[in-house]
Symmetry: D2
Subunit: 202 residues, 4 copies
């Protein structure tokens, strides 16, 4: 059967680690409802986000896509909407720092997530993991990837569950720059719950 594509980002902003990709790695190769998990690390480079996600889609023909990235929040944030806007407060890893830039000129203003967000939210809460529905994935790399993902699926006419989830910083990252955090084992378990719920819909 077609795999579930799970993506995380490479480190950025001076960190040597990114919890999003670290929490993905342990799930590589696991089977959920018959679908094997494939993990792809996405570079936080302006010109590489699109080819990375498009390449993964065309190569893997996934049954579902769960993309993840790091936020400054305190809970697993289930992103509802990707907007066609790149506006960076800090540079991408390539040095690019777009201002009020369309991600896809000619593309629509936004796409909604097609993941079962309410069911994921309920399952996470039942597991004792803080989560929330979020109305903005920002205007940096995470929203960028989310938009490119949904745009590529739209262009291909693939109606599969797909979307983006923000995970909190690691405690070690909150030492260097104070803010809320979530320890890696809990974030990893959160993604397991997400994979299980998404798998059940396939």
């Amino acid at each position: 059967m077609n795999p579930i594509l799970l993506t995380g980002f490479e480190p950025f902003g001076g960190s040597k680690v990114n919890p999003s990709i670290e929490a993905c790695k342990p799930h590589k190769g696991k089977i959920f409802n018959g679908h094997r998990v494939e993990v792809v690390e996405v570079p936080l480079r302006f010109q590489e986000i699109r080819p990375t996600i498009v390449g993964a889609l065309d190569r893997l023909k996934p049954a579902a896509v769960i993309s993840t990235g790091q936020s400054g929040g305190e809970a697993i944030a289930l992103e509802r909407v990707a907007i066609n806007l790149a506006d960076a407060r800090i540079p991408y890893n390539c040095g690019a720092k777009p201002v009020d830039t369309l991600i896809e000129p000619g593309g629509p203003a936004a796409y909604f997530s097609t993941l079962p967000l309410r069911a994921i939210h309920k399952a996470l809460q039942e597991e004792g993991i803080p989560s929330k529905l979020s109305n903005s994935a920002g205007t940096f790399g995470c929203n960028h990837l989310f938009y490119e993902l949904m745009h590529a699926l739209d262009q291909r006419g693939w109606e599969i569950p797909a979307g983006f989830i923000h995970v909190p910083k690691l405690p070690s990252q909150a030492v260097a720059k104070p803010g809320p955090s979530m320890d890696l084992p809990l974030t990893t378990r959160a993604l397991e719950v997400v994979l299980r719920v998404v798998g059940e819909t396939l």
Copy 2:
């Protein structure tokens, strides 16, 4: 010349006052770059938001539309995007409490503001008034009005400056429910700056 339509909301959520409409009223009848300001109060009732804004558009044929509402934030929030989603944490004044509801079935996921947000932001800051660009107007009445406004303009093919601006609570509201606030004279002055900048583009 066609007027500038300026809207604010009626009170909600237990408050007897809403700074958005109060900060609009003093501008009624003022002229900016030849365009007279018309003020309309929007009811926070699920079935009345659309007819109120659509009715005002068709009656006034405005040259620009600036809609405002009350937020819990600390700055004037220049909203970038309206999304096709109503999801209420507290009821509208009519008692409706929509969950994950499309505002316009068949409508696009989102519309971008067509107000000159960067120029407004710069002008507000030069006046010493805290402001910010915001990526989410929420999923309650404010986003609802913002979406209906942009959808109606899109359907009519009217390419005019239009969008939504959130203003902070009044200090007296922050007494009852702690949070940041902005005093009415300052909020009123902020809307004057917005009117001036928008007027200059007409």
Copy 3:
């Protein structure tokens, strides 16, 4: 009759203005319950805080002392307690940056405010001005002045109403560095309420 001493701080941290002294100035010379208001500006310099407040006390023999300073908060903060600790995150205006330093070696760990904080809180709220009781005035210049004030009164055996009140930043300061703010007219009015309530107890 003996005056009410009202103090505010000079600007610091890169600002050219400090709302605490600006909100004091308009009250200079006013009479509350027969007591004239004297305003003193306190330098944010490590070696000058003590002589400034001690000098003002000995010169004016005040019937009450209300010291004020600027905070990062959203409400008028009625400080309950001054602690014998200077620990600066940014330098004082003189360049001093004390770490875990006793303000008065041999002094007690802390002094409580002797202002009628509950009555002030109630009166501010009735005027529609956000206020709160606060359990920490920090460990920078504001707490420093508060401690020196209470210590000097204790050493003189003067049992008069005295304490410290934090006021929010000005909106113009929140432009440069985002955060909550309160416009000067409202902060000035807040201090009028404080003066009235304190005056009534004399």
Copy 4:
């Protein structure tokens, strides 16, 4: 050798669990620098806090005391100062809800922690655990215990390292009431670091 006394609180405010006592339990009986850890659970009942801590001190004659409690914060908070004030926003478990009440009439306004807070802070950060120095332990049960602890030591003339540390809520608690959290294994590890640093000073 005399033990290290480690205390945590019973659950309160509707929770069925309190991370402070849960993070203490695994350390019971461990030896740090020759000192055995004794764990005591403190009831969040107004009349029982004092006899519980005083009883434990007199029974165990500890070489050091580390008291812990649950906060709403995002980091391990190393409390600097206990103040002589009980002012409860929610009731204690016994139903008491003191307002502006002296914990010990005749006692000083405050006591400073005698734990090596800077060394603990440094060690926690080196372990990748978010921590901070805090200037207020609030005015509820945690500050209450902290004050009674320091007051009892002062009255006995025991000059030992003693103080209070706040730990964040558990993730499961943050599901019911949103806010930052720290998973129990990390909080437990944080207390191990604290025990190690304190043990080294004995």
